[in-house]
C-alpha cells in the first residue's frame, strides 16, 4: 500500500494561507446550481478579514466533461492550463470550492509532473490565445482544509454555537481518496471534519456507512439511477438511524445528490423522514450569523433546511 499517513498532514497544513489576497475558483455546481456555496465562502473570508480577488476570465475547470468522456485529455489539459494562466496574474493562492475542480487541478499537476512534455504541448495550444502556463505560480487549497486550519479562529467569531447538535459528516470520495497524495487527512479513516464540528460545538455522529459514496459517482445518477439511488438510500438511512440533525458535506455534487434524492426516496417508500443537508461553508456562514436566504441560498435546496435552523436558534436562545 502507498504511504498512507494515519494522521493529519502537518506539512501541508502549515502551508495553507490565512492571509489574502485569495482567489475563489468558481465551479459549475458551486456557482451555477448551489450558488450559496460560493457566496458563503466569500462571507467566511470577509469575516476572517482576508481579501478576495476576482476575475470573469475563469471558465469551467474542464473536469466534468473530461471525466464523462466527452472531452479528450488535450482539451482538458488546455482548459486547466488556461485557467491557471488567468489566475496567476491576480493571485498566488486559490480556494477550490468543488471536489471535481480540485480533482481536475490536482490531476493536471500530477500528470504534467510525470510527463513534462505535456507542459510544452499545452502551452502550444494556449499560445494561440496569447496565454502561457507557468508551473508553480498558483497553489490551490480545498475549502475544507482551509476551514480546518482556520477552525479555532472561526469558533471564536461564530455568533451561534452548535450546542451539541448532532452532525453527520460525509467526507466524500474526490478529495481524500482521488487526491490522496495531497489531501490533508488519510483516506481510510479520516477525522479532520469531525474535529471541525467539535470545535464549533457540535457532536459528530458515528454512523455505519461513513465511508460510503453518496451515490453520485461521476455520472451514475444519470446512467444508472437505480443503482445510484440504492447507494444514496443506504447512506441516508444509516445517518437517520443515528438521529442526526444535519448531514454535512464538503462537495457540491454530494450536496446535490443527498439533497435531491430524499424526495424521490420518500416517494419510493425507502425513507420515511428527511434530514437537512448543508455544505460546510453554508453551515459556517449560518453560525457566523448570515441569512439563510440572502447568503446560504437555501431557496435552491429541495430538502428543507429550516428544521435545522430552528433547532439551532432554539438552542441559542436557551443558552441565553
Amino acid at each position: 500500500m502507498g504511504d498512507l499517513l494515519m494522521v493529519i498532514n502537518e506539512e501541508r497544513l502549515e502551508k495553507i494561507p490565512l492571509e489574502g489576497p485569495l482567489y475563489i475558483f468558481k465551479s459549475c455546481v458551486s456557482s451555477n446550481v448551489y450558488p450559496g456555496i460560493e457566496a458563503c465562502t466569500r462571507k467566511i473570508l470577509e469575516s476572517l478579514g482576508i481579501s478576495v480577488v476576482d476575475t470573469d476570465q475563469q471558465t469551467c475547470c474542464g473536469g466534468l466533461t473530461y471525466f464523462t468522456t466527452i472531452s479528450s485529455e488535450d482539451t482538458f489539459l488546455a482548459t486547466v492550463a488556461r485557467n491557471f494562466s488567468v489566475i496567476e496574474e491576480i493571485a498566488s493562492d486559490m480556494l477550490v470550492i468543488c471536489n471535481t475542480c480540485f480533482n481536475a487541478l490536482h490531476y493536471f499537476e500530477k500528470i504534467t509532473e510525470d510527463f513534462p512534455n505535456l507542459k510544452v504541448k499545452v502551452n502550444e495550444v494556449i499560445s494561440k490565445i496569447g496565454r502561457k502556463y507557468n508551473e508553480g505560480k498558483v497553489r490551490f487549497w480545498h475549502i475544507a482544509e482551509f476551514i480546518y486550519k482556520a477552525k479555532d479562529e472561526l469558533a471564536r467569531k461564530i455568533k451561534f454555537k452548535l450546542n451539541g447538535l448532532k452532525i453527520a459528516v460525509h467526507y466524500g470520495c474526490r478529495y481524500l481518496r482521488a487526491c490522496q497524495e495531497v489531501a490533508i487527512d488519510n483516506p481510510e479513516s479520516p477525522t479532520f471534519l469531525e474535529e471541525v464540528v467539535e470545535t464549533l460545538g457540535g457532536t459528530p455522529v458515528k454512523y455505519k456507512e461513513k465511508d460510503l459514496c453518496c451515490g453520485s459517482g461521476k455520472m451514475q445518477r444519470y446512467t444508472a439511477r437505480d443503482l445510484s439511488l440504492q447507494i444514496t438510500a443506504r447512506k441516508i438511512e444509516s445517518i437517520i438511524n443515528e438521529d442526526a440533525d444535519l448531514i454535512l458535506v464538503v462537495c457540491p455534487s454530494c450536496l446535490a445528490v443527498l439533497d435531491n434524492a430524499q424526495m424521490e426516496l420518500e416517494i419510493l417508500e425507502r425513507l420515511d423522514s428527511r434530514i437537512p443537508v448543508l455544505h460546510i461553508t453554508q453551515l459556517i456562514a449560518l453560525l457566523l450569523g448570515f441569512d439563510p436566504n440572502e447568503t446560504l441560498g437555501i431557496q435552491v435546496h429541495t430538502t428543507p433546511v429550516t428544521p435545522f435552523i430552528e433547532k439551532l436558534m432554539e438552542n441559542a436562545t436557551e443558552e441565553g
Binding site: 456557482s31 466527452i70 482539451t75 490565445i129 483516506p187 465511508d211 459514496c213 444508472a224
Partner: protein, 197 residues
C-alpha cells in the same frame, strides 16, 4: 463458466496473455501508470466496491479480462459504466493500482467503438454548454436571480473567456468529438447500444 481464477489454466496460458489490447489502451491513456500485471486477484477491490454490492460490476474480473484480452466482456457490457469512481478500490488495493483510471480508459475505448451508456445525451449537453457558456452546467434564469440576491454577479464568465475556450476546443478537436458523439446517439445503433437493466 466459472469466474473463479483457475491457476492451472492461468499458468498454462501465461504465454498467450493478450497484450495487444492492454498496450493499445496504455498508449492512448498516457495518464495511468499502467501496472496491472501486478494484480494478483486478491479481490479486496470487489469487497469494498459499492457498485459491486448492488450489481454485477466486478473490478477484479475486469482487470483479469483486460489482461486476457477478453474484450467483448469488458467493452460490450454495461459494467464499466457502473463504476462510481469512488476510489475505494485504489485505496485498499495492496498494490495501490489505479483501477478507476483503467475504467476511464476502457470507457474511452468503448465510446470510440460506438458504445455509450444510458442518458449519454446529458453529458453531451455538458460539452455543448461548456462551448456556449464557458461552464459545463449552464445558468438557469432562476439561479441567476438567486446569485443576484446573494450579492454576486449574475454570470461569472465573460464573453472573452468563452471565446478563448472556443479556440481551445477548435485546436484540440472537441467539436469533432462532440459531433461524433451526437452521431452515435442519432444513428441509434441498436445492436451496440447499451441499456442499463
Amino acid at each position: 463458466m466459472s469466474d473463479y481464477l483457475d491457476f492451472d489454466k492461468l499458468a498454462e496460458n501465461a504465454s498467450s496473455w493478450e497484450w495487444a489490447f492492454y498496450d493499445k489502451i496504455r498508449k492512448r491513456n498516457i495518464f495511468a501508470s499502467f501496472n496491472f500485471t501486478k494484480c494478483y486477484q486478491c479481490g479486496k477491490c470487489v469487497g469494498i466496491c459499492p457498485a459491486a454490492q448492488h450489481s454485477n460490476f466486478n473490478p477484479r474480473l475486469i482487470i483479469r479480462d483486460v489482461l486476457f484480452g477478453e474484450l467483448h466482456r469488458v467493452l460490450d457490457s454495461e459494467d464499466i459504466w457502473l463504476c462510481f469512481d469512488c476510489f475505494d478500490c485504489k485505496v485498499r488495493c495492496p498494490m495501490n493500482l489505479d483501477i478507476p483510471e483503467l475504467i476511464h480508459a476502457l470507457r474511452v475505448e468503448a465510446l470510440l467503438q460506438g458504445r455509450y451508456p444510458k442518458r449519454f445525451k446529458t453529458f453531451l449537453e455538458f460539452g455543448r454548454n461548456m462551448l456556449e457558456t464557458g461552464s459545463a452546467i449552464s445558468l438557469t434564469w432562476r439561479v441567476r436571480k438567486v446569485r443576484k440576491r446573494l450579492g454576486m454577479t449574475e454570470n461569472p464568465i465573460s464573453e472573452q473567456a468563452v471565446g478563448e475556450l472556443k479556440v481551445i476546443a477548435e485546436e484540440t478537436g472537441l467539436n469533432e468529438h462532440l459531433d461524433f458523439c451526437e452521431c452515435l446517439i442519432e444513428e441509434e445503433k441498436k445492436d451496440k447500444r447499451l441499456t442499463v437493466k
